[in-house]
């Protein structure tokens, strides 16, 4: 076990398992750079020791990719290029406040593995909407549901022409770990976007985390893919989901989550249309 139990995560939170699975692959010579997020709390305080078995650098909200750039440069100077510098950041730290820093590090093709664990809102501060909150979702700052669609962050990062971008899910652990393994073997800027269901924020029973993560993939809301040197490839069960008849309706994903409970049938249809359109675009990308 690389990430110890007895940490401060909420019941049903996938973050400790996601970190453990990551570190299992990247190993002891990993540095975690963690900006303000749920993980800042999960990692405990200065006195009590930390659940991480690898060095952790806590970071101001918008600074993690730049700090990681510095660490990577120093490790190069130390001749320790076999070490993996990982940014472990939430969706707000990645797609909102940390976006310029992320884009800068991606453009410079820094030797960093960036993992965005996306729980689709500012959960640590108590469920406020982020640019990555999906359409229709309730948060404390979108009391009647978010009116805008989720920022397509993995594709935006891919547009920086970095060597590796992938999406992943805690429900498909082999797929996630094989992506981390591949990312570890590549030099330069690598990006993995993990959909990370949050029981208190998404309003579902803490025992259903993996189920919800699985439904996100099965309904096509969260497609699993990787883009290696510009080449797009669906992975795991998402490979068969280009065929719409193989995808479950989005309702199957929405109905277990309180955050979507106030959506009107029209809004549900709008989200379904959005997902279907996204898959049409994916179909085009797989043809390239």
């Amino acid at each position: 076990m690389m990430f110890l139990r007895g940490n401060a995560a909420c019941p049903g939170c996938p973050i400790p398992k996601e970190l453990d699975a990551l570190l299992e692959v990247t190993g002891k010579k990993t540095v975690l750079v963690v900006p303000a997020s749920c993980t800042s709390v999960i990692l405990g305080d200065t006195q009590g020791g930390q659940p991480s078995t690898v060095p952790v650098i806590h970071s101001a909200f918008a600074a993690a990719p730049a700090i990681a750039s510095g660490v990577a440069a120093s490790l190069r100077m130390r001749g320790e290029e076999d070490a993996t510098v990982v940014v472990w950041a939430g969706d707000g730290g990645t797609g909102d406040i940390g976006f310029a820093s992320l884009s800068g590090a991606a453009e410079r093709n820094e030797n960093i593995l960036y993992v965005c664990y996306d729980n689709e809102a500012y959960m640590n501060t108590g469920i406020q909407r982020s640019g990555l909150t999906p359409y229709g979702a309730w948060t404390t700052t979108t009391p009647s549901g978010k009116k805008e669609f989720k920022k397509p962050l993995p594709l935006i990062v891919a547009e920086h022409r970095v060597p590796y971008v992938a999406t992943a899910s805690i429900a498909y652990l082999n797929d996630y770990q094989s992506k981390v393994r591949k990312a570890k073997s590549i030099k330069g800027f690598r990006y993995i976007h993990l959909l990370s269901p949050c029981p208190p924020g998404w309003r579902f029973d803490a025992g259903l985390t993996v189920e919800i993560a699985k439904l996100a993939v099965e309904t096509g809301v969260w497609p699993l893919y990787e883009i290696e040197n510009g080449e797009f490839r669906l992975t795991s069960i998402s490979k068969v989901l280009v065929d719409k008849s193989k995808r479950k309706p989005v309702e199957a994903y929405l109905r277990y989550q309180g955050r979507f409970s106030k959506m009107t049938p029209e809004e549900v249809k709008a989200l379904q249309d959005y997902v279907d359109k996204m898959w049409e675009e994916i179909r085009e990308m797989t043809k390239k």
């Binding site: 806590h58 600074a63 730049a66 510095g70 440069a73 130390r78």
Partner: protein, 385 residues
């Protein structure tokens, strides 16, 4: 040690600092262009390109990332450096505090410049003094030689185990950054000896630490108290380093403050930065006319030289502090510092606010205010605007 004679060069301030940085051998730099610092970044890039400085320059997308990048780099061991000014210093403020709170030894040069809005690229000290509470040692240069000297000393002070704190070297934008002066530079081998190898490494895979985790209120207060104690210790370390530097270079270093013609002075002028040079002229002229005036130069702003200032104020008939930065609703920033350390003394302390946004200040302006002080005609606060 014998006085080491190096080369004499003609350098603008930015190039003199770049030269000192090259000799201090940082391994990682991250600098974002901003006027009037940019020509330093260009010179450093040139040194790296030619292989004269074996370092990586991270071409960051902002000042916030510049400070973040060298923070990350410094944790892993190497010596690091950055430079900025004005808006850039403000933009990196969050990371300035982050680095100070973490007590990471590193050096940053600040080419002082006014703060917008409205836009101004010209010199004053508003940017520099705004970082006074960030747990940084802050020193300010009077001339190009001084900027070179302080930069070298900054690395040594910062990495001293008794200090372990970032150091900011302030030098006036344009007035020093773009002015060419005669500079004596030390031979590289002497600098190597003066700044011992850096011993600082927090990233260790066999002893994994959590750096900067949440501190409970009890612990947070303890860390802040430790920083206060380190800042007090820094005073003697700075004096020690300066004494050593003086021995090597043969150039007088004075200490946290310098007293110029002030031994028997009835009236004292207090200042910091490049215009201290003009103040020397003003004081000399008034001395020629028989006025008993003197000058107290503040060379180290943090830790503030409380004892030296208090001692220098004692028994004077009047003091005037020249301020290039203002705390609106309160007073001149340097004046406030001086007044805070004059508690219980009866010496009247006046303020002249001048040079804001690069507004020209001449020796005769300084002379005029000082003469008015000696004649009881200076207001408590005067603005040269």
């Amino acid at each position: 040690m014998l006085v080491q004679k190096g080369k004499v060069l003609a350098l603008v301030g930015n190039h003199a600092v770049a030269y000192a940085v090259k000799q201090a051998k940082p391994q990682v730099l991250a600098v974002f262009p901003i006027t009037p610092q940019t020509t330093m970044l260009e010179k450093l890039s040139e040194y790296i390109d030619k292989g004269e400085l074996r370092a990586e320059l991270i071409k960051v997308e902002s000042e916030h990332s510049a400070m973040a990048a060298i923070f990350g780099a410094a944790l892993a061991g190497p010596r690091v450096f950055t430079a900025t000014a004005s808006q850039g210093l403000l933009y990196m403020t969050e990371m300035i505090y982050w680095v100070g709170g973490q007590r990471v030894p590193l050096v940053a040069a600040v080419a002082t410049r006014a703060i917008a809005s409205p836009w101004s690229i010209w010199d004053d000290h508003q940017d520099f003094v705004s970082k006074r509470d960030a747990i940084w040692v802050q020193m300010m240069a009077e001339n190009v030689q001084d900027a070179y000297d302080i930069t070298l000393m900054a690395f040594r002070i910062s990495e001293d185990p008794r200090v372990m704190m970032p150091v900011m070297m302030g030098f006036d934008g344009f007035i020093l950054t773009h002015t060419m002066e005669r500079v004596e530079v030390l031979p590289d081998s002497v600098v190597d000896e003066f700044i011992p190898p850096r011993e600082f490494k927090l990233i260790d895979f066999d002893n994994p630490l959590g750096i900067g985790a949440v501190a409970t209120p009890d612990n947070y207060a303890k860390y802040r108290k430790k920083a206060m104690e380190a800042m007090e210790r820094a005073k003697s370390v700075i004096k020690e380093v300066m004494a050593n530097f003086e021995e090597i270079t043969g150039r007088k270093q004075y200490g946290l403050t310098e007293c110029y013609m002030c031994e028997d002075a009835d009236y004292l002028l207090v200042g910091m930065g490049a215009w201290v040079g003009d103040m020397r002229v003003a004081v000399s002229r008034l001395r020629e006319r028989g006025k008993k005036v003197g000058l107290l130069k503040i060379r180290v702003f943090r830790p503030f030289p409380r004892e030296e200032v208090r001692e220098a104020l004692k028994g004077r008939k009047g003091v005037v502090v020249f301020d290039r930065a203002y705390s609106f609703g309160s007073g001149g920033v340097l004046s406030l510092e001086v007044k805070a350390n004059a508690y219980g003394l009866t010496t009247p302390i006046h303020t002249v606010v001048a040079g804001l946004g690069g507004k020209d200040v001449r020796p005769r302006d300084i002379e005029g205010a000082l003469e008015d002080l000696t004649e009881g005609k200076l207001e408590e606060e005067r603005w040269l605007a």
